[in-house]
Amino acid sequence: MLLPITNASIVARRAEIVAALKEIVPDGVVADPSGLATFDSDALSAYHQMPLVCVLPSNRQQVSDILKYAEGQGVPIVPRGAGTSLSGGALPREDGILIGMGRMKRIIEIDYENGCVVVEPGVTNMNITKAVEANGFYYAPDPSSQIACTIGGNVAENSGGLHCLKYGLTTNNLLGVTMVLPGGEIVTLGGKSGAQGGLDLLGVITGSEGLLGVVVEVVVKILRKAPVTRTLMASFDTVPAAGACVAAIIADGVVPAAMEFMDRRAAEAIEDFNQPGYPKGAEAILIIDADGVQADVAYAVSRVIAIVAQCGGKTVEATDEKQRARIWSGRKAAFAAMGRLAPDMICMDGTIPRHALPQVLEEMAKLSEHYGLGFCNVFHAGDGNLHPLIIFDTMKDGEFERAEAFGADILRLCVKVGGVLSGEHGIGVEKRDLMIDMFTTAELEQQGRVKCAFDAQGLFNPGKVFPTLSACVEQGHIHVHGAQLPHPHLPRY
């Protein structure tokens, strides 16, 4: 992937910029190389870039002052939460200020009567649930990175999770945000009432990958935990049978809380890794959660068991909470488990119409042969969101390039069958150049004008999401080799 040209005149003014930022945030400027090195990449670890400087504001006024200064000086801004983006959304720029939101991590208000929580952007996804779970509540979107990723990052990526089949993505669970616009103006969109009194700008901010401003406060809905949750595992002799079963369950009118698919290779790797007790010998496995009141769940479970049987599969149910947790911990460790099969991997994130599943699985197998690279499939089957994991070894000549080409072909395939490039990880730098495979020039220009409506100078996260048609300079790929994945302690998606 090509990265944009660095503006050398900004880099030349570095000392002056660092000094100005220290005026604004005296205790929160990182400028020394070893300090900056911690910020030089996100979870798309193939790409590294030291930022010009990193600033860690602790309140919205500081954010506003930084953005005002940056606009006056024409310096690019890259917002960053916890740096768990899988698409390079938080990748720094050599000529840009990285603005890290991690210090703004106060839970401002828990308001049960209105069913919402008001937080600063640096609060982790998990800490929102932790703050309310003693009272039987939780925040529904549950990315597997939830112990680390921030709510600000979730808003910027419109993150999903295992349970968004029933409960929606970030965008469906947000009531409001306060954000600082490029130039420093502060606006509030929505709030506890959810009403905006104008265009739904909250909707367009969500999933905008740090291109439109810096989110400084978030109001999210919280939900009462379902009284009953039951977990089923269904195993199949063939992959198409499992695919057909997913479609049949959805068509039947059952809305499981989660429905996850994994193929044999993934299941075996996971079984070796943490022994969740997955059925042996199956070509494909589905893990299905049903939640709600007891009778609702009983009804859903009985329908799922019947449909699985019709599709030629076998079902087993988790007998207790411990087993439920084990089954899910296996699923969440898919990435780490696959990591043991090869030194490197990349995780793709396309969404397809569910009926195209068998065709896409077959064509992916052909691509795998063509590129001579292994892969496995784990995905959010209920909503057609694929996460093929491509395994390779950078030390072998050309494998990284082949892996990227394989991944790009998978995403093109998703688009070809009527799907999209990204279901929940965002475009970032990773899929930027594929946008032309999905959108016409007029469509990209329309989105570009929306960007300009917020950021006339184009200073916010430049080089992300939209293909830069101007000349670009190639930066070397420095890839973390071996088991040194960023955030190794996290379960993957």
Partner: protein
């Protein structure tokens, strides 16, 4: 008035309007024309109309994908009937305002989405913006473009479908919409707790909202809005297959006590569409607030005809036009939004649909509008 029959004709029409710098009004079924500022040219005459009612019909319905794609002027009634045959319903609960607004037109899909017209079911599945997955439209440059996609999960580029919902037709001429659909629950029941004060009634509704019962409607109606005497009633709509529904009803009794009784008819269609106010004179407002503020604000607003839906997050009310500044001020103080849904042309012209936004936000709204429609051709001033 120009009628179009396909997207190409929309493109041609927009090009002509651009060339002549003539703004126009977009009309599908025409039921919501009386919402927002009246659309007039500088001499006070009606704007020319682009009639898109010919763009009607379901393009593709894929029950197993939980997706339906339809042309913009497809009648809500038609789409509901087609989905019902497969035991499904739209992902949002579109409200038909035609009775309230005294229109004999046909409520359409694009009209409901553009005006963010969500009925009582918003509580459960969100508004139009939560279920519009993708669209095709023609922008103010006369270009046809797509936003979103036809899959249920997508973060590829900006989420333009959200912007189109609630834009009141000011960003583009929609030519196709793809919605998420959901299974239709087999049964629904409304429970009623009679003769309760607004304080108690809303407190009961919040208790249900905070439970795991996934209610499909939670409204409070004062006594004068009901066919019965007493202070008022809290209404709770629950849905599900037979047994789960019975369980939910039992749980609701457990939460609120045994005074809860089942009522035969479903009152929520009339509540969510504003039908309750059709015959009441005056301006009709929808005041959107944090739900726990409902009893306090209802008291402060102090009007004769009102009700609270969405567990209190929206107060519907009728008021004399002279009350407008007071209503807007109360809403603003509570960080809410008072939307003038029905009013005389004069009220609508002077008040607008919503109160003016703070300076920076208003400027941002204007730039986003200009990003789609730089010459301000589409429904100028309506929002």
């Amino acid at each position: 008035m120009s009628r179009v029959a396909n997207e190409d004709q929309v493109v041609d029409f927009v090009h002509a309007a651009r060339a002549g710098k003539t703004p126009f009004e977009i009309v599908a079924g025409g039921t919501r024309r009386a919402v927002g500022r009246p659309l007039l040219d500088s001499k006070g005459a009606d704007l020319p109309m682009l009639d898109v009612s010919g763009l009607s019909g379901i393009v593709k319905y894929e029950p197993a994908e939980l997706i339906v794609t339809a042309q913009p002027a497809t009648p809500l009634a038609e789409i509901k009937a087609v989905l019902a045959q497969k035991n499904q319903r739209l992902g949002f609960d579109p409200a038909d305002w035609s009775m309230l607004l005294g229109s004999n037109g046909v409520a359409t899909l694009a009209g409901a989405a553009s005006c963010d017209a969500s009925g009582s079911g918003k509580l459960r599945h969100g508004g139009a913006r939560d279920s519009l997955l993708g669209f095709r439209a023609v922008n103010g440059l006369g270009e046809s473009f797509r936003g979103g996609a036809k899959v249920v999960k997508n973060v590829t580029g900006f989420d333009l479908p959200k912007l189109m919902c609630g834009a009141f037709g000011t960003l583009g001429v929609l030519t196709e919409l793809t919605f998420r659909v959901y299974p239709q629950p087999q049964f629904a029941t409304t429970l009623c707790l009679s003769d309760v004060t607004p304080e108690d009634g809303f407190a009961h509704l919040r208790k249900i909202a905070l439970s795991a019962l996934e209610p499909a409607g939670l409204a409070y109606l004062p006594g004068n809005m009901l066919a019965e005497s007493g202070q008022g009633a809290a209404l709770i709509k629950l849905e599900g297959a037979r047994q789960p529904l019975e369980e939910k009803i039992a749980l609701a009794h457990g939460l609120l006590g045994n005074a809860l009784r089942r009522i035969e008819d479903d009152p929520f269609a009339a509540i969510g569409s504003g039908e309750q106010f059709a015959d009441i004179p005056g301006d009709i407002w929808r005041v959107m607030i944090a739900r726990a503020d409902a009893p306090r604000l209802a008291k402060e607003l102090n009007v004769r005809h009102w009700l609270g839906d969405w567990a209190g997050a929206v107060l519907w009310m009728a008021a004399d036009p002279s009350e407008a500044p007071r209503i807007r001020a109360i809403a603003a103080k509570a960080n809410g939004q008072a939307m003038l849904l029905r009013g005389s042309a004069a009220s609508r012209a002077s008040l607008g649909l919503f109160a003016p936004q703070p300076h920076a936000l208003a400027a941002l709204n204007r730039s986003v509008k200009a990003a789609f429609d730089p010459l301000s051709l589409f429904n100028p001033g309506r929002l």
